[in-house]
Amino acid sequence: MAAVAQRATLGRRLRRWEGLPYWLILPTLAYLALFFVWPMVKSFQLAFQDDGVWTVQPFRTMVDDVEFGNALRFTLLLIVFIIPIQFVLALTMALIVNAKLRARGLFLYIFLLPLAISDLAAGIVWSSMFTELGYLNTVLEKVGAIGTPYIWIDPTHESKLLFTVVMAEIWRSTALIMIILVAGLQGIPRDYTEAAEVFGAGLFNRIRYVILPMLKPSIQVALLLRVILAFEVFSTVIAITGRGSTVLAAEAWRWQTANMDANVAAAYASLILVLSVVSAALVLGLLRTPKERIAR
């Protein structure tokens, strides 16, 4: 009886606080409105208006600029090359961590190391590797693979620049994909893979028919995050290639800081936003998980 009475008073006391969750989320909502929604609206305004008059002039300036095509192409090429390689690597790392190796804790820690490394730091680290008198050439020369220093960062070869930036970006951001995949792997009951093994499925078939399908939601989240981050790539490119190549975010930065033209910078920003949202929608659409599968 006493317990029931206690519950009742507790219930009353809790009901008195029904509005509480709204008060608790209010500061966050207000902050996001002020520092997220409003700047976004402002950004489009900057891109489309000049002294209150509607115009597409910033976009025209953006598209007519010689660097625009290069920036767009390099950004898209980065995505095309980074994502597939990165997912294979991240999945390999995740499977290694998930296998019961004795040193798995150590491997996990090492694989996670780049998680908090900034794009700028990663860019500088890899420029020390790729620079002409740098560490990669030293290693290659010591093992006898090359006789004279190889020029990796060559402004006249877009493919070489692409390769160096792809390496740095994969190095930096694979940890993020891996951590999402490991979390997903841990949600797959061991019975499933063991059953497949008992029935004679080899490693590749287990990955292909059991692990990948069950990992699909995690892969989707990781892909979503990765595609969005890919449009923000910026200081890695500047740190490694200097002015040798450029990406969309770097152009936005240059227009804002060097050319002091906030309108064209905002046009770039709007383009980046539209591209991120469109590719996020594409990822969601392409990898749609049917409801009955989620329910399992």
Binding site: L89, T92, F111, W126, M129, S218, L225, F234, T257, A266
Partner: protein, 270 residues
């Protein structure tokens, strides 16, 4: 059971190769940062510690603007941490503890802010800040970084509170605690380690951020913005020591919060 050792050997080999790939670049930049300036220019480079010296690091730290921007970076990160957790922790607690209309919508709104790149926030803010009189200031950068870190803070704190049994708080309340006292005496102490991990990660988000920082500052950059602005004209010792200096805190952070990472990201992505 045919050749059961073979996959294990392959697994270990793969693990070691991937580990080397992650660790070697970090090792090399550390080596470069702690060698003499002559060794930095030398080719072929030393691959083992030789000519160790703090000369290169001192050169970096004594370069114009580095110490000032370092101080600013620390202030900005500390303010960001305060703002993001101050504003975000109540919201995190709300979605962890209450069932309320719009809770899912709120969660979704917070998650979806990740889709909006910092690029689109910082450019209009640069214009607005001039009107507000906080252009080129520590406060301005911290406010922008808070926008970046807040969604993360909300989701992580909510997962921290979700990991603490609600019954403990209810028990305290049946024993006469007010809701506030129950939170302060029960939930908060239990959540403290998780909240500290979240705080550390928020700090590093701000420490790492360079786009907004370099757009919102002119004469008073943060350390990454300072390094970026002179990077392509600077000497190798400056680059390498600067790279190491930007990198080192993130390695320490990962070490300190390694136990919490899975709780943080594992739940954040769900």
């Amino acid at each position: 059971m045919k050749a059961a050792w073979l996959p294990r050997v392959a697994l270990h080999a793969g693990a070691v190769i991937l580990s080397l790939w992650v660790v070697l670049p970090i090792y090399f930049i550390t080596l470069a940062a702690f060698s003499t300036q002559d060794a930095v220019y030398k080719y072929p480079k030393n691959l083992v510690p030789q000519d160790l010296s703090t000369e290169t690091m001192r050169f970096f730290l004594n370069s114009a603007g580095v110490v000032d921007s370092l101080q600013r970076s620390v202030f900005v990160a500390a303010l960001t941490l305060l703002f993001a957790l101050g504003v975000g922790t109540p919201a995190g607690y709300a979605i962890a503890r209450f069932v309320f209309r719009g809770a899912n919508g709120f969660r979704l709104a917070v998650v979806s802010t990740r889709a909006f790149p910092i690029v689109i926030l910082s450019i209009p803010l640069a214009v607005t800040y001039i009107r507000w009189g906080i252009d080129d200031s520590v406060l301005g950068v911290a406010l922008a970084h808070t926008a970046l870190a807040l969604p993360f803070a909300v989701l992580v704190t909510s997962s921290v509170f979700a990991g603490i049994s609600v019954e403990l708080e209810e028990a305290a309340m049946t024993l006469g605690c007010s809701r506030m006292a129950a939170f302060r005496k029960i939930a908060l102490p239990l959540a403290l380690p998780g909240l500290a991990a979240a705080a550390i990660f928020v700090f590093i988000i701000s420490w790492n951020e360079v786009f907004a920082a370099s757009i919102l500052t002119l004469r008073n950059p943060t350390l990454p913005a300072q390094v970026l602005s002179v990077l392509n004209e600077s000497a190798l010792p400056f680059r390498f020591a600067g790279g190491f200096f930007l990198l080192a805190p993130s390695l320490i952070v990962i070490f300190v919060i390694r136990k919490y990472l899975f709780n943080m990201w594992g739940r954040v992505v769900k």
